[in-house]
Amino acid sequence: MSGARKPLAALLVAGALSPALAGCAAGTASAPAGTSAATGTSATPALSGTVTVFAAASLKATFTKLASDFEAKNPSTKVTLNSAGSSDLVTQITQGAPADVFASADTKNMAKLTYAKLIDGQPANFATNVLEIAVPPSNPASIRSFADLAKPGVKVVTCAPQVPCGAATDKVEKATGTTLKAVSEESSVTDVLGKVTSGEADAGLVYVTDVKTAGDKVKGIAFPESDQAVNTYPIAAVGTSKNKELAAAFIATVTGSQGKKVLTDAGFGTP
């Protein structure tokens, strides 16, 4: 009776008791500081070590590019990038995750850290983002404007009002007097995009930059009312950072001309 069944049963219980493990926080451990630059002392002090950057999910592509540019320019540095939803990142930093730089997709989440006195100095706004309608390439519901989304029978997916992209959607709805009947209110903009690229939804409200990243998997339809809800992206050094010099240098790269170029290419606006 017992023998072989017990371990199996134990395994099953373990499985049943672990419900929502999806939001596994991938806290990046800070790598040991790089070996001090052995390349002799030049006129400007060489930067070295590891800088850990916590960046909003929508910044993943641009920051990956900026990080490798930064490493190329400063050979004895290493940039460790951790991308997730801004509020996830705030939670991680509040719980002591080793971050040197935090770049948020909205000012609200940055304010949470400023309020908790975990930010060094003033956050700098470095980019803006607006909503755009994403439709499958064939545009099955013939969407042309924001008002078209409210037509009966159109399957539109939005972000839930609790997350930044949903708050922006809410603002646009209020400003235009249009009420959308979404078939799903997702908790992240990538989930909205996924529903559109898979063809499940006729349209989704995402950021301009998401449409650009998705390439030819979706078609973007810009709408003038989007300027009613402009999202501002702030960046700042985290107060507990052990390598403030490096953090400041990375922030300067993002806010400088090179950062501007990479961000504009990806569809971001300038604040």
Binding site: A4, A9, S187
Partner: protein, 273 residues
């Protein structure tokens, strides 16, 4: 057959107890930490808010429906796997058990390409006027997909343990196969079936990844309790923790119900309350 442990020599070296205690703590401590974080004065309003109750109701309804689907599909599967050897049986078992180890998100993607609007079956269902995407049916499908192996494994184990002697006797006495199944086999493995069903229910209740990927998230339609927790966490950590506790309580109750082995003496924590 049913040897009793508990008295006398256990054969367990003392250091095993130390590691076992650490293992127990590893599971218990996070739960304790969560309970410590609960905002008790606000607990009742938080878990009885309209969105929470809607999510809880939806979770219970869909999990019940998934459990029924699991029994309907899983009992024949377990019977075939346990009783009739056929070529490819090992392979079939491996595939049936796959959702146990598959990340639920992967399950969700697979379901999307099967039942979605552009999916393998979804295309034809759409023509027939049946729309699964973004409906409660999608939630039940996702839950059934991840929970089915729990029922099959429990029941197959029970069937193998029970053996087929009684069934052979019944057959020699002239009972038809369907009668044997109804009057002998099923009653014999009823405890295994029940615990399998309870585990399926518990797994359905906790289902998150496949639902999020496949069904979407809309209050009252597809936003089950785990999805509600995930969303609440964005703005209201207190509500997320309170709802998590509700889910833990339901899961503990459900699993506790199905594992009342006579010799395990139940959970001491419950005896204390």
């Amino acid at each position: 057959m049913n040897h009793r442990s508990g008295s006398g020599y256990t054969g367990i070296p003392p250091w095993i107890y130390a590691i076992a205690a650490a293992g127990g703590l590893f599971v218990l401590l996070p739960l304790v930490a969560m309970v410590a974080k609960v905002n008790w004065p606000q607990f009742v309003p938080l878990v009885t808010s309209e969105s929470s109750l809607t999510a809880l109701g939806l979770s219970l309804r869909t999990s019940a429906a998934s459990t029924v689907s699991c029994v309907v599909l899983g009992v024949p599967l377990a019977l075939v796997l346990a009783r009739s050897p056929f070529p490819g049986q090992r392979l079939l078992r491996a595939f049936v058990l796959l959702p146990l180890v598959l990340p639920p998100v992967v399950g969700g993607i697979a379901l999307l390409y099967t039942f979605g609007r552009q999916g393998l079956l979804g295309k034809n269902l759409e023509l027939a006027g049946i729309q699964i995407a973004f409906s409660t049916t999608a939630v039940v499908l996702a839950q059934t997909f991840v929970a089915l192996p729990f029922l099959v494994v429990s029941l197959e184990g029970a069937l193998r343990t029970a053996g087929n002697k009684y069934e052979a006797v019944a057959a020699t006495l002239g009972a038809r196969p369907s009668t044997v199944l109804r009057r002998v086999t099923i009653p014999l493995v009823l405890p295994g079936l029940a615990s399998g069903a309870v585990l399926s229910f518990a797994r359905s209740l906790g289902e998150f990844g496949a639902t999020l990927t496949f069904a979407g998230s809309l209050q009252g339609v597809t936003r089950t309790l785990p999805l509600e927790i995930y969303l609440q966490r964005e703005t209201d950590a207190d509500a997320a923790v309170a709802l998590s506790l509700v889910l833990v309580a339901v899961a503990v109750a459900v699993v506790g119900l199905s594992y009342r082995h006579p010799h395990t003496g139940a959970a001491p924590e419950r005896a204390l309350q």
